[in-house]
Symmetry: C2
Subunit: 176 residues, 2 copies
Amino acid sequence: MSAHDEPTLNKKNIYTGKIIDVQLHEVELPDGKTSTREVVKHPGAVAVIGLTDEEKIPLVRQFRKAPEEMLLEIPAGKREKGEEPITTAVRELQEETGYKAAHLHEIAQFYTSPGFADELISVFLATGLQAGPSQTEADEFLSVEEWTLSDARAALRERRLRDAKTAFAIQALLLR
Amino acid sequence: MSAHDEPTLNKKNIYTGKIIDVQLHEVELPDGKTSTREVVKHPGAVAVIGLTDEEKIPLVRQFRKAPEEMLLEIPAGKREKGEEPITTAVRELQEETGYKAAHLHEIAQFYTSPGFADELISVFLATGLQAGPSQTEADEFLSVEEWTLSDARAALRERRLRDAKTAFAIQALLLR
């Protein structure tokens, strides 16, 4: 613990949910005063940018309730308890797109919204893709599209890709 | 509303906070079944990647309670009610780093965590920077560093930059 930590003096559990928990922390600031911090706890997530042998990127179109919008995203999902990120990556890619990857490696890891949430996301690059049947979860309704990198780049510039991890991953491919 | 929307059948307000609100929605799925969606409402945010005349990027180091980590991030802050993103951008850049920008333009806009939150972030590029005094809010404790783009790129590759908007913005500069 450094002088710049914000130790919790009191913690109130606001909500324990299916995916997130919400906590309210009373913290001590570096100057000795106190403040409150709202914290959303999340199990962490994994996202996969795949590149097919035809140099296409599988993208998933689905309705997202929080923003109330259809979004186009790279395949992703939350980690199960104790699950290694690469296991989640293999599972989510196959469930959402049907693809199995010969090669998967982590290209980045970051917090999506550190101001209020602890969600850490691992982004994987998947190559050597073999098509197969997809199998989504009972409450997931999505369709898969395959985009060229240059179409994805144009969509990003024109604000038609509105998901952070997807924007990051497409730029990462462009910078390879 | 399309066939792929998830209309809310019932909504429960779980928490009304300082920065976030939390809601639980019972929704109708496209197949007629129902499910629940946990939704974190957020006012939206703005982030600013600045480039000084010496080609350096101002970065802010601060403790983030949610991940319990010191993070290095581009200057950012949440939008006040009804505030235009560019107004937030001008304010946050000056408050956190002291810089005034001659030129500010939005380079991207995306949802940080659309699976559970509606936070939309606008990312601005700021150039023509003029140094001045910084003035942070009462509960903000941060220090400013100035990094070269190549150091920032190396830090990104080595997982030493762990914030999504910062990772995105550095890539965007590299791709200019």
